[in-house]
């Protein structure tokens, strides 16, 4: 008699020889997995931003010091590495992180929007400002990065655009009203993005804990403020004539 009552699907699974999809595939297909990709790629970008911001502060040491620092980034690791290799390694890592971050965000946002096809008649503001502006803030930051690269990496849209003179190029950008506006708006969006993103990443990766929550939120706010203030200090210094 035993066995007669085993449901068909149980018997099928007992003799199932089909292999399960790999964990990475499962990860990318699931909403939690895509959030994990966003958390990890966001973390890589955040680490880069901290280094980038600290490097920017070199501008306060003057033209020679800043330009020498920029040159050092090019020749870093020589003779083991060739000129500019470090920069290209960093660029590949960053580009991969940015693409992963944007693709996951795009796919998750589409799912989220589709999950509520009919809106509430009695709507109300949900979530904090930083949380609500994640998507549009992200778009603003992405557009900013395109401009920023054309401005200070390739020099195409820079008012001066001289190779090997990053200090002078920076001063040229922040001597224009639009340069300052674009930069400061983007940095404010970045601060808000980090404020929610850092804590949210801790949630997604499962590292948050009731006892750790306040510290993580404080760290998120601290990082957001430090990065925004650090980045914005450069255009303000140019505007006020501290850097010229």
């Amino acid at each position: 008699m035993t066995g007669a009552f085993i449901p068909l699907d149980v018997m099928a699974s007992a003799t199932d020889t089909g292999r399960r999809p790999s964990s990475l595939r499962v990860l990318w297909r699931s909403t939690i997995g895509k959030k994990t990709v966003m958390a990890v790629s966001g973390g890589i970008l955040l680490l880069y931003l901290i280094v980038h911001m600290l490097g920017n502060l070199k501008i306060f040491a003057g033209s020679t010091s800043f330009n020498e620092y920029a040159e050092w980034l090019r020749v870093f690791g020589e003779p083991a590495l060739g000129e500019g290799w470090l920069l290209w390694v960093v660029r590949v890592v960053l580009l991969t992180a940015v693409i992963a971050h944007i693709v996951a965000a795009w796919q998750l946002s589409r799912l989220d929007i589709r999950a509520r096809p009919v809106k509430y008649a009695h709507g109300r503001r949900r979530a904090t400002y930083a949380t609500r502006t994640m998507r549009w803030g992200g778009v603003i930051i992405a557009l900013f990065v395109v401009w920023h690269i054309l401005d200070l990496t390739t020099g195409h849209v820079n008012p001066l655009g001289e190779e090997g003179r990053p200090y002078e190029n920076v001063v040229a950008t922040f001597s224009t009203w639009y340069g300052n506006t674009i930069y400061i708006v983007a940095m404010l969006a970045l601060g808000l993005h980090i404020r929610h993103g850092f804590w949210s990443a801790a949630q997604t990766l499962g590292v948050n804990h009731p006892r750790r929550d306040r510290a993580l939120k404080a760290t998120a706010t601290g990082l957001a403020v430090a990065l925004t203030v650090g980045f914005v200090s450069v255009p303000i210094a140019v505007m006020t004539g501290i850097v010229s």
Binding site: V26, T31, I32, K34, A115, R116, R124, H196, T204
Partner: protein, 249 residues
């Protein structure tokens, strides 16, 4: 006792594929002692007497423990108090108030009629792993499996979920993460749930995604709306469990 006069704007929809609209009703003689559902009963008695179709809404125990009732009241799942709609009392409102009453809004919770939605998506998530596999028929010796106090507390906290769906209704993404997390954390915390810890987590999350719920953006509205106080940290724990399950393959 002062009776209240209210203006109710209720979502009326005759069937799953019928168009719906917010319909306005004036209701007199509402006492502050009434529960929100009793207030709707009063309206329905009048509508029936007038030959109109009464407002359909889910309800069962009316004690706040079954998870049947649920409606979005003035934009809040279960209304302004942190409880179920059946345990919400009219003293939370004032004379002359305009109250908007809508069904849970989620693609995975299609409207059946008026305020009644189909929540069988939750049943399918449970079916994917919200159980333990154990021989039934003879009760095991109660002391055979020791449960650490911390694990018992965690399991109890999450076992309080009544599956009402307020978390989905309140989430701007219509996400079922808090519901799924409550079940995963509850069972994974206990030794009885340990043998299926990884498969449960993987399969319940897969079932949740397959139903078309949105993802979690850590807004926290679910935990604020939850009448049983399932903490947001349950989602953190489920994320941890999920990544652990994938690592174990």
């Amino acid at each position: 006792m002062t009776l209240m006069k209210l203006t109710l704007r209720i979502w009326r929809q005759a069937g799953p594929d019928e168009p719906g609209a917010m319909t306005t009703y004036e209701l007199d003689g509402v006492s502050p002692e009434m529960s929100f559902l009793e207030m709707l009963d009063t309206l329905n008695e009048r509508l029936s007497a007038e030959g109109e179709e009464p407002v359909a809404f889910d309800h069962d125990c009316r004690e706040g423990i079954c998870g049947s009732c649920g409606m979005v009241i003035n934009g809040d799942a279960h209304g302004p108090e942190r409880t179920t709609a059946c345990q919400l009392h009219m003293r939370s409102f004032s004379d002359g108030d305009v109250i908007d009453i809508e069904p849970w809004r989620a693609g995975a919770f299609p409207v059946i009629k008026d305020l009644v939605v189909d929540r069988s998506a939750f049943d399918r998530i449970i079916g994917a792993g919200g159980y333990i596999t154990a021989p039934t028929g003879s009760a095991p010796e109660a002391h055979a499996t020791a449960v650490p106090k911390e694990a018992a507390d965690l399991a109890f906290e999450n076992a309080e979920c009544i599956g009402c769906g307020a978390c989905v209704a309140a989430c701007p993404n219509g996400s079922a993460m808090l519901f799924t997390a409550a079940k995963v954390v509850h069972l994974n915390a206990l030794p009885q749930g340990a043998p299926e810890r990884e498969s449960r987590t993987r399969e319940m999350v897969a079932a949740m995604d397959a139903e078309g719920f949105g993802g979690c953006t850590n807004v926290g509205e679910c935990a604020t709306a939850c009448p049983k106080g399932i903490p947001l940290f349950s989602i953190t724990r489920m994320n941890r469990e999920y990544l652990r399950a994938l690592r174990k393959g």
